[in-house]
């Protein structure tokens, strides 16, 4: 994860879930709050990532809650889909 803090406040975070595949650490899904809105990037072994924009109105707290729930519930699925190249 990466956290950007300005003037004592969190302005942005990136949460990336990785897995070990073939001896290498690879990103599987990433939540990013850049540009003032939250989006999810889902990665695959052999095709372009899929970027999904979340609501503009999510606060950092809400975006974090959403990302946390999603990754905790679905990390197995993201890992499997990475390998199958299918969302």
């Amino acid at each position: 994860m990466r956290i950007w803090i300005e003037a004592g406040r969190v302005r942005r975070f990136v949460v990336q879930n990785e897995t070990m595949i073939g001896g290498q650490r690879v990103p599987v899904v990433r939540y990013d709050t850049a540009h003032g809105y939250a989006h999810r990037e889902q990665m695959f072994r052999d095709r372009e990532l899929i970027k999904t924009r979340r609501s503009d109105r999510l606060s950092l707290d809400e975006a974090l809650q959403f990302a946390g729930d999603d990754v905790r519930r679905h990390w197995r699925t993201y890992r499997r889909q990475f390998m199958r190249n299918q969302p």
């Binding site: 956290i3 073939g22 707290d61 946390g68 990390w75 499997r80």
Partner: protein, 135 residues
């Protein structure tokens, strides 16, 4: 290469560890959102590890974050959260207990994150024993 060759199976124990680490990682991020100053003493780019332990007499979760700065070999540790993120400041006795371990926490380094966590747990246990001895 087939999927089976590349995607190693994860057993139940590993899956539980991943679930636990994800929960603690997001708890850390939530703590930082509410109190950004807790990262002031964690150098940017550090490798982080998380552990939640119980503050013995108060039934409170204490969230610890161990950190190893980039290019460093040793780990430091900080208390980054206590109880629920939105809960009010600690009651005085609980605060006194927790703050009794801070000199250890703030001034020492360890060879591994596990050693750092174990040192904090030991320190809390010692504080608990001292409290019981004092009646």
């Amino acid at each position: 290469m087939s999927e089976r060759e590349l995607l190693p199976e994860i057993d139940d124990e590993q899956a539980e560890a991943i679930d636990r680490n994800l929960a603690l990682g997001f708890a850390f991020l939530r703590d930082v959102l509410h109190r950004p100053e807790i990262v002031d003493e964690i150098p940017s780019g550090s490798t982080l590890a998380y552990r939640a332990i119980l503050l013995p007499p108060f039934e409170l979760d204490v969230r610890l974050t161990a950190f190893r700065p980039r290019r460093a070999r040793r780990w430091g540790v900080r208390v980054t959260g206590v109880g629920d993120v939105h809960s009010p400041p600690l009651e005085r006795p609980a605060a006194r207990w927790l703050y009794s371990i801070l000199p250890l926490v703030e001034n020492a380094t360890w060879a591994s994150a596990d050693e750092a966590f174990a040192a904090v747990e030991r320190s809390l246990k010692n504080a608990n024993d001292a409290h019981l001895l004092a009646g």
